[in-house]
Amino acid sequence: MFNLFKIAMRNLLRYKRRTLLTLGLIALGVVFVAVFVAITGSFKNMMIGQITDSFVGHMQIHRRGFLASVETLPLTMNMKPNAVRKVENLLQETAGIEAVSPRIKFGGMFSNFAETSSIRLNGVFPEEEMRTVPLFLSRIQEGSGNLNKGEILIPELLARGMKVKVGDAVVIIATNQDGSVNGRQFVVGGIIESATGPGGRDGYIHIEDAMEVLRMDEMEISEIAVRVKDFSRLQAVYADLERALSGEKNKMGQPAFEVHTWEKLSPFYNIARMIDVMTLFIKIMLIAIVLISIMNVMIMAVYERVREIGTMAAIGTLPGKILSLFVVEGFGLGLVGAAGGSLISCAVIYIINFSKITYDFGRQKGIIISAGISPEELVMISIIVILVSILASLQPAVKASRMDPIEALGHI
């Protein structure tokens, strides 16, 4: 086998310029894909992190049917204290969960005594909310995120539109579960940045204040946000949780609760999928580049070495070994191209990170590109390149191995 490699490598070096051009093309393709994956991956991870860690959470648990009518935030779809206890017990028994935050979500009217607007509010336990969505505090633009009782955090768009500042007194009016209306005065404790996705433009108050506004005797929870310890194990934890919750039935005999991961809750999941699809297309382009360039080189190699192939066949080289020789040449091109491309990719990614290039996304300004590619992903790209190289060299190799020695020896 070593000798086969030696001969194959010598053959590749026979046409140095052509081999270098092909290697360059393969390496360029690898660099293009790896850097694309690194940048889009970092963008995707950043966005997922922003969404899950600043307001959505990794998962949410609702009473069955709540999500379907989430636009109206019906108080009748809240979980009763008994149900909440059951869910909390199940959450405690489920491994891999770091924090949970119960929320009361409701819609109401927001007044600054001069103007009135609609608002969606979350009543939360501040400490539990911060543990579940740790980037929440980073959304605070003005004031503090302490969220003491009697304080309200309002979204920046509302604050700007209603000309409300931190420390101003405002009134929240909401319809209670029984249909009556109640109002309460709050002090603006902070202004929070709006974010893309459900709940991204909600205001926040303390959960006990929410109970008071809604005249709840017992705490009825709209949703429970969940944070897992290891994001890469999200699907496994979700499966465990779903299995555990499926045992709880409502009066109709249907599952009483529903649990969803961020993917079902955030429209950004579609963007994340689009990024994945784009990455797939870029990989297909890489495959095409490698396939065409290797096939071209190997077809040329076979055509130029017809007499040599005839000689090898004449002196008794079996067709399988002739085939192997050309496949090893293709493999060699793929291997060196992939290795070179991977090294250059690492260098380019390092330079991108070192340069601290920034970009804006929506309302977020100056996000630093933090490109990164996992060794597994790089190895996967390299394996694809090598496999495609072998595949591309197969047709010319088969042609070489099937050559009639007499015709080949007579080739000029």
């Binding site: 000798n3 086969l4 001969i7 002196i315 008794g316 067709p319 007499i406 020896l409």
Partner: protein, 317 residues
Amino acid sequence: MTGAEKKSLSKEQHEIIALLRQHGSSMLQTEIADSIAGDLSYVVDVLLTLEKKAEIKRYWDADRGVYRVSAVDDPLSKIREEGDMQMIVGEGLSKTYQTGEVAVEALKGLNFSIEKGAFVSFVGPSGSGKTTLLNLIGCLDRPTRGRLMVADREVSEFTRKDAALFRGKNIGFIFQGFNLIPVLTAFENVEYPLIMVQSVPAAERKKRVLELLEAVGMLDRQKQLPDHLSGGQKQRVAIARALVTHPVLVLADEPTANLDHDTAYGIIRLMKKTQKDFQTTFVFSTHDTRIIDEAEIIYRIEDGVLKNGNMKGGAHV
């Protein structure tokens, strides 16, 4: 064997005779003739056809993993003796090429035999059929009609793989254009068949290659690539490559055509010397009148037909 006897033999019986010739001591290899070895009637049939009677015994040779067939009074000795003498036997050998609607008969029913260890030249003008005949003998092509025995094997019906295996084991080739592999040094070119064809261990490879490079006077240029060698030097390397596998037969198609007069003489003398040193049968084609006389036996071939030529002995037409 008379002509009548030959005709009455079946293909399997021919195969048995070939095996007996090949292995000398009445041995049948099970990998080739398992069914035959299992049923001695074929062997008996052969002997009866030959009007020989013998007590035949069969036994399993566990050490060598083959069936052995022994015959009291050894009536097969004549066959062996006759077979031992011949390296190549052609009977009614024809080759027709179909070019579109036109059929070109390159060889027309050739009958000939070449003894082992002979130094034979096929002489004739271009297009006379020399190369076609060498291609058939070299198992690079198959005859359209007739039978061809090379090194005691019927080669006319070889599959492509069988032919490659047979060539790798039994035949060395020397080409008009030298056909050295340009990316390999002289040493590596000679070594190539031992790696890619015969899988010989490294130490043995080195020993054999150096021995042959010394024999052809190329030891001091062993690290040179073919591009840095003269025509004569390339052909010396090619001769070493042809001999390195210890073939029983070396075929050379116009080996001196691309060489000047002195170099051509040198190459022919080298071929003769290696033929004697290594006891190898050399068959070459040429239309170079300057070197024809160097051959011990000359076959003249014209329009695909063998003519009586300069018969110095050892071969018959």
